[in-house]
Symmetry: C2
Subunit: 595 residues, 2 copies
């Protein structure tokens, strides 16, 4: 059976020592964020996730969700109680606006908590995660009355929430969607249509579920310009704010999936359901993107989370399982064999994970800090540059962290050999669960296209240019620290390759857009390696400074792990560049029917 130990020390390192978030105490929400408060949140979060959520992870997978004939859905045993504990702990509103009952703390602290929730029980985490995304969307686009009606109960966790985009014939291409919204004389709409793949679409954790639904108002323009967003509560909300009669929305079935069995993935049938326009007519996609971007960061975090927990359990096995002898001679000659951890190829798999986990944690939390700065900085330039950073990095984080999360979960499974393939050991569940993150909230190929097709070119390339300048400045400012030189060289070299790729894209994409598409995924990976290099350089700087007086080995290990990143992960950058520069010719040359 698997265990979870939240990497609190590493989280503290990122939050307190590298990002040093106490220096933002001038910002709303950051005022009271002392190191003590951070420690308290991490420790309480760790207790809940380790003791309450993780013990339900495997049983939840085995049991799955059950849909009953009346359309109701029961979550696995223990989920309701666990959700109550989560709700009562006030976790749902941790960083939500205090006006609606949230605690108003920085988003970056929610990220840390969400990492723990996803790692301990990814399927569970989706219930509150989707509700929070829906609440953020209502906060951003709702009327005051809508906010008053829905937000307090969503922020407290009494009500859930979902996002309804996909239909049977359209996933990525939302311009094709057919769900209809017919205006009523009272200003409401009747919603009719079928949505599929609706995570947490129906369940027994909350009294009510607030669905956000994309639909087309009668007579609306075709394509994405005719899509509007609606609030469709599962139960009508009475004047006193409580839940009333059922609305015309039901769960028609739940999907049998590869993983995340404990989360209900529903076909939702809208049959003359009453909906309320959220935001402006025909601007629904833009409004939904508030939720999408939030959700994409949440999915990126799932990738990191799956890599983290699978690493922990792979490492535990490697320390305990005795098998074979070290190549350099027995390490524990008094035992019948050495532990697996003596074998280089076992370490390769675990160190790949470790170097990724620690680098991605800093990168991910940095994005969280930029999200806070975007919303809370008093400086408009900083608001703008933070938003630029987020827009640029969101697709990269989503695609890269989920791909690596999946691949690393599979590596950790490999450490266990045959036992990794057996359900009761729990490693194969991490792989199955991690797999969905590459698909949902925009398949990873879409993220790559978003990066090269939109984010690079927006505002004349302001976002990537500013990011590149940050890197150049960091290298220039820190060149006098000898121990940091390998990190600066690795960063400079990778960034130079990324610049070359960016220029190649600029020169070759305009004449043939397929050149951009053909190189998009490699470009995304090259960008990710640059971002990880930057994270590692920043972490190494702090670790080098603090190493001298440290007996724990934490900083020394940090530097070793960073060196491993340089040695074993960064070399992929040259391959990505070469692939990008090969263009689209051989990729696109076959006639469709030749496939």
């Amino acid at each position: 059976m698997t265990t979870y130990n939240a990497p609190i020390r590493d989280m503290q390192f990122v939050l307190n020592e590298v990002l040093d978030i106490s220096k933002y105490s001038n910002l709303p929400g950051f005022t009271d964020v002392s190191q003590d408060l951070i420690d308290a949140i991490l420790e309480e979060g760790s207790k809940l996730t380790t003791n309450v959520l993780h013990p339900l992870n495997h049983s939840g997978d085995k049991e799955g969700c059950v849909r009953h004939n009346d359309g109701s859905v029961t979550t696995p045993k223990g989920f309701r109680e666990a959700y109550d504990a989560f709700r009562e702990g006030g976790w749902q509103g941790l960083s939500f606006d205090t006006q609606y009952g949230g605690q108003g703390l920085p988003y970056i602290l929610s990220l840390a908590m969400n990492e723990m929730v996803s790692a301990s029980n990814m399927a569970f985490g989706m219930y509150p995660g989707l509700a929070m995304g829906a609440a953020q969307t209502i906060l951003a686009h709702g009327s005051d009355a809508q906010k008053e009606t829905y937000l307090p109960k969503m922020v407290s966790g009494e009500w859930g929430g979902t996002m309804n985009l996909t239909e049977p014939h359209c996933g990525t291409d939302l311009g094709l969607l057919r769900t209809k919204a017919t205006p009523q004389s009272d200003g409401t709409y009747k919603i009719n249509g079928t949505k599929i793949f609706i995570s947490a679409g129906e369940h027994d954790l909350t009294d009510n579920i607030i669905h956000l639904v994309l639909a087309r108002i009668d007579g609306a323009p075709e394509g994405v310009k005719g899509i509007s967003l609606f609030i469709v509560p599962k139960l009508h909300v009475k004047d006193d704010g409580s839940s009333g009669d059922v609305n015309g929305v039901t769960c028609g079935s739940i999907e049998e999936k590869m993983g995340i069995h404990a989360n209900s993935t529903c076909v939702m049938n809208y049959d003359n359901a009453t909906g309320y326009l959220l935001g402006q007519e025909h601007k629904g996609l833009k409004a939904m993107f508030v939720m999408m971007n939030e959700a994409r960061l949440g999915v990126a975090l799932q990738g990191l989370s799956m890599s983290q927990i699978s690493y922990e359990n792979g490492a535990d096995y490697a320390l305990e399982r005795l098998q074979g002898r070290a190549l350099t001679g027995p390490k524990e000659p008094e035992k019948p064999a050495d532990p697996l951890i003596v074998h280089p190829d076992i370490r390769r798999m675990l160190m790949d994970q470790r170097a990724f986990n620690e680098g991605a944690r800093h990168w991910m939390y940095s994005a969280g800090l930029y999200a806070d700065l975007h919303h809370k900085s008093p400086d408009e330039n900083e608001q703008q540059s933070s938003d630029d950073y987020l827009g640029l990095m969101t697709p990269i984080l989503k695609a890269y962290l989920t791909e690596k999360g999946y691949w690393h979960a599979s590596n950790a499974q490999q450490v266990l050999g045959g036992h990794g393939y057996i359900q009761e050991w729990g490693m194969e569940q991490f792989v199955r669960d991690a797999r969905i993150a590459m698909i949902y909230e925009g398949a990873n190929g879409i993220q790559a296209l978003d990066l090269v097709g939109r984010k690079l070119m927006q505002d004349g390339g302001r976002a990537w240019q500013a990011y590149f300048k940050n890197i150049d400045d960091f290298i220039a400012d820190n060149g006098d620290v000898d121990a940091l030189k390998p990190f600066l060289e690795g960063l400079g070299d990778t960034k130079a390759k990324l610049l070359e790729a960016t220029q190649w894209m600029g020169a070759n994409a305009m004449q043939n857009f397929d050149n951009a598409g053909a190189g998009s995924m490699d470009y995304l990976h090259l960008f990710a390696l640059t971002a990880l290099s930057f994270s590692w350089a920043q972490m190494a700087k702090v670790a080098i400074e603090k190493q001298a007086g440290d007996d724990s080995g934490f900083y020394a290990n940090k530097i070793i792990t960073g060196q491993y990143f340089l040695d074993r992960m960064l070399p992929d950058s040259s391959a990505h560049l070469a692939k990008i520069k090969s263009g689209s010719a051989s990729m696109m040359a076959l006639e469709a029917e030749a496939f």
Copy 2:
């Protein structure tokens, strides 16, 4: 639901046009191998696998195997009838010695058939596959009486067979195994112990199952030098050759696994079971390696097979599913959207698979031809060099093809977006099934260690030196064909990197064996890319020669796919070399307790 269309045209190309196996008609078994015979075998094999085996693939996964209280195991619905059809078709003995009822045809034709079996229904294919491995081991090491007793019924498919190596506390490190063999006065042994992860250990497809069991004779030396191999039939064999009473071996339980649910993975309990020594005392591991090497090639083939069938189904979806528009403008403007195949990143995933499938098929079948030459060539030098090739390539094929098979099945799943994650679409089963191939028959890390730790150094490096010389000769002999130059350059460049890596290993592994271990997996991948380059160069040569008069597009497409291999797969070679040369320092530096 998934479909399977055996890639017969591509198999014909490899067998008839590139390897040109008709030119070996001087060898036993090859005499009657005309193109017509090959075509007939491929077509009959295709019918059986497409019409009988594949329709049971998904239902077999859903239903799984069931163990009853008496220890018997029922395979999924339809498996018995399918097995009867397989057996009655004479497929089991296709390339087995005619003396024992086989057809005596070349092993390479069995490979082609086994590719189809594994692709159409991997879990099914393991039943006859393991029986054949056991039969080969009895053929190689059994007494005449043992061969007479077991082989005819195993070759006809009446009896099954297994290999019993793993015990709860030892998988890779067989020196630790504890199963005991106690000599009896009649020359037999009493076998006592527990074996785990025994594929096809118990089932209802055959009357009897012939287990090959590693055990330690009382008083035997410790470690691998005290292990012997035993034949332990499930049912005693009567003097008339038929199955009699039950022996002391039972299936204690079957494992709940990530995939291959239709194959029973058994815990086998040996309780005073009667066993018969196979081969010499204490030489059991060596004898078992006959089976292991055969099985490793079979597992490599599973990797190719999973990539092939997932490619087919991913491509089918990409041709049908309408979603989005081509970046270069609508391709099918009269439809609401273009098919997925217009999108470069969708093509990237499918072309990765295609370039791998076609290259790996040639490489794999080449290994099959060398196996035939090893056994059947009248020329001792050729026997030796063929054996060298096989020894060198077996670990590379096993690890590389299974890793790519898994990763590609996941890519094909990605093509389907959300539907790829849903069980009824069948793509996620390919991923779950493919996953085991990286683990069993020696986890891939062990293959990499076998390569750098044994195969490279054997006989002073004779095997790799001969292989490198073959490449050099091919390049020298074909330099005058302009259209082939990119392939020769790619091959030469990759081989140069592999040579550099080999020399680095030679120079750095002796002073610190961890340097070899640390680079072993990247070295294996670099070797695989070299082998694929060589395969692609040989295939391109034939395609270039034949392209002119061809209206089908087959050869033109072959060249395009080869160019894609050069553009998009080969660049990884530089990353592998850089990682190898970074050595073991950062990989091995952390104290074990730091993990």
